[in-house]
């Protein structure tokens, strides 16, 4: 089971869009995918029509009463999506209250890693959608994943959020004493604008080793898919956005093959 977290400490950069696009393409390749919505705003959950408080529980409940160890309970929480191969662990508005409810002292950053460890035989890929702020939820995602994908909007000031994200990532690596590889994904790229071109150049200059080979272009079809609650490849399998995500996915898959060959172990394999 491969766990990828799609995160940036900046909002509106295409995290949720990337999660849904990649999930659809993975399902297309025949993989079983679990999506985890760690954002209290629940935009990933509402993408699939889960707009109300989930009655079977949500990520929130995992933090209490050792439910991260209760496989039956976890199974009960998982919801279907419009694709049989893709399932969802939904968010809850209550997640916004989590920081106040739990202590940061007792390893609460490992709750998600423990939960996913129990599901390791049931899915091929897990994609984590995270809130754009540093807190217990983002730390849980970083601690559970084996690769971080950082969507970064190609515009002025985008680098700031990216820097913050990388600083957090380094701290997780120090705490966990492991390497956590990451891929920076330029998003909403529009070659006609200066802002797009110059920020992409800046990313290439500073982060060339970790930069994705493929930028995601601006593509209104991605927005349409979100509005209709369908996976982007279902709406337009050959659209520019979907094609870019397909190339990205291939690159990520070959990267993760490389790292397995070189013996770098993942957190939860």
């Amino acid at each position: 089971m491969k766990i990828w977290s799609i995160s940036n400490q900046k909002g509106g950069v295409g995290k949720t869009t990337s999660v849904v696009s990649l999930a659809g393409l993975l399902a297309d390749q025949g993989y079983r995918v679990l999506l985890v919505d760690l954002d209290p705003h629940g935009s990933l959950s509402s993408y699939f029509g889960y707009d109300t408080e989930p009655l079977n529980g949500s990520v929130y409940q995992l933090f209490f009463e050792h439910r991260d160890r209760d496989l039956d309970y976890i199974h009960g929480m998982i919801q279907p999506t419009s694709l049989a191969a893709v399932q969802l662990l939904p968010s809850s508005t209550l997640l916004a209250t989590l920081e106040r409810k739990i202590s940061t002292q007792d390893g609460m950053g490992l709750v998600l890693a423990r939960t996913l460890a129990q599901l390791r035989d049931e899915y091929d890929y897990v994609l984590l959608d995270t809130p754009p702020i540093l807190g217990v939820l983002l730390v849980n995602a970083l601690a559970a994943c084996e690769r971080l994908i950082i969507p970064t909007q190609t515009e002025f000031l985008a680098i700031k959020g990216l820097e913050r994200m990388i600083a957090s990532l380094q701290m997780v690596m120090k705490s966990q004493r492991r390497l956590l590889p990451y891929t920076i994904l330029p998003t909403m790229f529009d070659r006609r604008t200066n802002a797009s071109l110059s920020s992409l150049r800046e990313m290439q200059r500073r982060y060339s080793a970790s930069l994705s080979e493929h930028a995601i272009p601006v593509d209104t079809r991605l927005r349409d898919a979100s509005r209709q609650g369908v996976f982007p490849h279902q709406l337009d399998s050959l659209g520019r956005g979907v094609r870019a995500y397909r190339q990205l996915l291939r690159q990520l898959q070959s990267l993760s093959e490389e790292s397995t060959q070189h013996g770098s172990r993942s957190v939860v394999s």
């Binding site: 009463e65 540093l134 820097e163």
Partner: protein, 253 residues
């Protein structure tokens, strides 16, 4: 916990101690594994397994340091004030500290919205003790209680006295939550009182302008004001607790 000394330090400069504070935050969240040897019983097996896997992935420190050194531009350790600020505000010590200032004076008031029998209510997060998803059948009615008592609910940690929010706040409507049901309990601050409600909808960041504060002492002591954009009642949690406590002592059941 994030060290206290830093909360008085002006934020803005990215000093090494800011980074230390953040690193401590990460270490605490990630290093300890809770309840490994406590009474977790039969599931302790799977737990130690996942812990073991987390440890397997441990690489020697030097490896990480090498990566840090590899490309200083790429691996910046710069941390800006905003994220420090966020982290400090996450510290439980901060929320647990005695409230010196009245929550009403805060520039920003974060609230949780919930509904009861069609009524929308807001409670400040700073005065929210917790939210539990419950089965109404697990709330045990008690005899001789005031009309708006639904009984008591016991979870692993505590026993809560459950208030029929509809009966307390709008008795004129004649709604009885023990008949119509409810799904969540909203614990009032650190008290043993909890409000039964139908659904929890969202959190809101309120500014002073978005609230119409109520002039003191009206027919509804539990009402602190109105959230203008949502047209919903903002609760006065302290008054609610006082009201509930008073009912326990009155013989007027």
């Amino acid at each position: 916990m994030v060290e206290k000394k830093t909360s008085v330090k002006p934020l803005g400069e990215n000093s090494s101690s800011d980074i230390d504070v953040l690193q401590t935050y990460f270490n605490q969240l990630l290093d300890a594994v809770p309840d490994l040897d406590s009474d977790s019983g039969s599931d302790s097996g799977s737990d130690s397994q996942s812990t073991a896997e987390l440890r397997i992935s441990s690489a020697p420190n030097e490896v990480i340091d090498q990566q840090f050194i590899k490309d200083p531009g790429e691996m910046t350790t710069e941390v800006d004030a905003e994220s420090i600020d966020q982290t400090l505000s996450l510290s439980p010590t901060d929320t647990a500290a005695p409230e010196i200032s009245d929550w009403r004076q805060e520039k920003k008031i974060q609230c949780l919205l919930f509904t009861v029998a069609g009524l929308k209510l807001a409670i400040p997060l700073s005065l929210l003790g917790g939210v539990s998803l419950v089965d109404p059948n697990d709330v045990r009615p008690l005899f001789g209680q005031i009309a708006w008592s639904l009984g008591v609910y016991t979870d692993k940690k505590q026993t809560l006295r459950v208030v029929d929010t509809a009966r307390l706040m709008m008795p004129e409507r004649g709604v009885d939550l023990s008949q119509t049901g409810f799904s969540h309990l909203i614990q009032l601050n650190q008290s043993t009182w909890a409000l039964a409600c139908d659904s929890v909808t969202e959190t809101l960041n309120l500014t002073q302008e978005s609230i119409k504060w109520r002039a003191r002492d009206g027919a509804r002591p539990w009402l602190a004001g109105t959230v203008i954009s949502e047209m919903c009642a903002l609760l006065d949690v302290d008054k609610l607790i006082q009201l509930a406590e008073a009912s326990r002592h009155s013989k007027n059941l």
